[in-house]
Symmetry: C2
Subunit: 81 residues, 2 copies
């Protein structure tokens, strides 16, 4: 999993907020989400705090757990060139 460089931090922070909102919507703890998505519990915390540059397969796994299309988790994001 990549660390987040300065310019990309806004995207990671927005993604983290979406993950937290979806997790709460379906009533899971961070541990619960980690177990279902097959990722480490501490990594869920890093993602939600916008500290992680998640990979495509993690996006898809999270979307599966939330029962949403992966596109919905990344829609509207703009690069920071």
């Amino acid at each position: 999993m990549g660390r987040v460089a300065g310019g990309d931090r806004a995207v990671a922070a927005d993604f983290g907020r979406r993950v937290r909102a979806e997790r709460k919507r379906i009533g899971l703890s961070q541990e619960g989400l980690a177990a279902r998505a097959g990722i480490h519990r501490t990594f869920v915390g890093r993602v939600e705090r916008g500290e992680a540059n998640v990979t495509l397969t993690t996006i898809v796994r999270l979307a599966d757990v939330f029962g949403v299309d992966p596109g919905a988790l990344v829609a509207g994001f703009r690069g920071t060139k």
Copy 2:
């Protein structure tokens, strides 16, 4: 950038095909896409061959170059649990 594990290869392969199709749609070479997206030329090749597990920020940068929403590049993907 993460390597692609067995189960996630289908997602990476589909994503690669979408990147190649979008690149050709806008008439760029792999070098041209790499330069505009700020990623390495050889990495574009790995992505298109489905050998790379791209990060969120790379997805967003590629979408920017293609002039599409990042959601469109990952819509419809399903996890492989």
